[in-house]
Each structure stands twice: as C-alpha cells, then as structure tokens.
Amino acid sequence: MMTALLILHGLLAVALLGAVTHQAFAATARRGELRTRSFFARFRATDAAAYRNAVVVLFSAVMIVGAILYPRYRFLVRPILQTQDLRSANGAFELKEHFSAIGMMVLPAYWAFWKQPLSPEYESARVWLTWIVALIVWWNFVVGQLLVAIKGLFL
C-alpha cells in the first residue's frame, strides 16, 4: 500500500512539475519571442492561465499523499539519516516540509491571480507567485528523489 502511494506521489509530482514549469516560462514570455521557432519559444508558447486548476489540484494531491507517507518517513528513513549523520539530507527534508506548507498556503492567492479575465494590475504578483510555486515544486521533487535513492547514493 505504502509503496503504491510512494509511486503515486512521484507520478503526481512529475505531472505537477511539468505543468508549473510550462506555466512559469509561459508567464514570463516576451511578446516578440513567441513568434520565433526556438525550442524555448515553443516551450513558452502556451496559455499560462490554462494551468491554474491543474496546478492547484496536483499540488494539493501531492501534498495530501505526501502527508500520508510522512509518518513512514519519520519512522523508517529519518532514524537512518540520523544514525549515519547525514545532516544535510535531514535538513533538505526539513526545508521540503516547510516549502510544501508555504506552497500550499499561497495557492489561494495563486488561484485568484490566475482567474480569468487576468487583471493587469497584478501581473507581477502573478508571475512571482508562479515562480515561487515552481521553485518549491522543483526543490521538493529533487529532494524527494534524492531521499528515495539515498541508500544507493550515500550508504
């Protein structure tokens, strides 16, 4: 059951990573750039507002599954990190915890700012919040993957 949940957590995180990265790059695209045919221009040439609900639903789902898995991490993985004195790994996970919580709490504002019709007054807040959510998702994804593989990597 827990293994299935861990895999689900990872798969949902991959989907979230894709959605929020596309949105963050699309939100910062310059007008002229979208007409060029470079890889980045094509990557950015997407309707950023269309990702709003997907990001909110996926972030919430990843967070809920992560919260269910968390006691198992505390019971099985954290003691190994402590006995092996892997302080950085422990700290990285503590940050993942805080970043997830802060990310979850900014989602209502993120959702409001991306609601159509987009208000030009809040463009900078919209772009900044999207990048904040994207950075949180990237940090959490990388730390999560490293911790899952920590036995093979460091022990």
Binding site: H98, A101, A112, I132
Partner: protein
C-alpha cells in the same frame, strides 16, 4: 484588492502564522508515530518523538482563515499588490535561515 481579497489575505496571513508556529513551537496537536494517535498535549519522552508538522499546518490554517474572515473590507482593499509575493518570499527565506543549522 479587487480579486478575491479574502483568499489573498489568507495567503498572506497563513505563511506568517506557519513561520511563527514552527519557530515558537505552536503546534495545535502532536501526532505520535509509534502510537499512531493525535494528542492535544505533549506526552512524556517515552512515547517517542511526535510529528509536529501536522499541528503547525493546522495552527497556520486556522489563524490564516480567522484573519481572512475577520479582516474588514477596507483593510483588504488597501493591501499592496506586491505583498502576495513578498510575504511568501520572506517566509521561504525565514525557513532557509532557520534550517541552516543542518548544513553548517
């Protein structure tokens, strides 16, 4: 603030409340892994280490929700459009500084 002012206010208040909750250990409850139960007051050390994170989330959610519901509309209308990203950035930096002890 024209767009969903109370949602935005929640996103301002809750990260601040969360930062205060973990800094001052204002956990609404503790979850004891070995017992698999929630307790509203701390148990002796023999009960094993508790998980405080759920309690911090609950504290922040309740505080953020209460502030967002109770704030007068005039105050919400006067919020700067820069605050909704400045506060989360400050909260992330505070978390980085707080957890720096693991990396030194």
């Amino acid at each position: 603030m024209k767009v969903h002012g109370r949602l935005i206010l929640f996103s301002l208040a809750a990260p601040i409340a969360y930062t205060l909750a973990y800094y001052f250990d204002w956990s609404l409850f503790q979850y004891y892994v070995s017992e698999g139960r929630i307790h509203f007051s701390p148990l002796p050390a023999s009960a094993g280490p508790p998980i405080l994170w759920y309690g911090w989330l609950a504290t922040a959610g309740l505080a953020g929700g209460a502030i967002a519901c109770a704030a007068p509309r005039r105050l919400i209308a006067r919020l700067s459009p820069e605050l909704p990203w400045l506060i989360p950035v400050a909260a992330l930096l505070a978390a980085l500084i707080y957890e720096m002890r693991w990396f030194l």
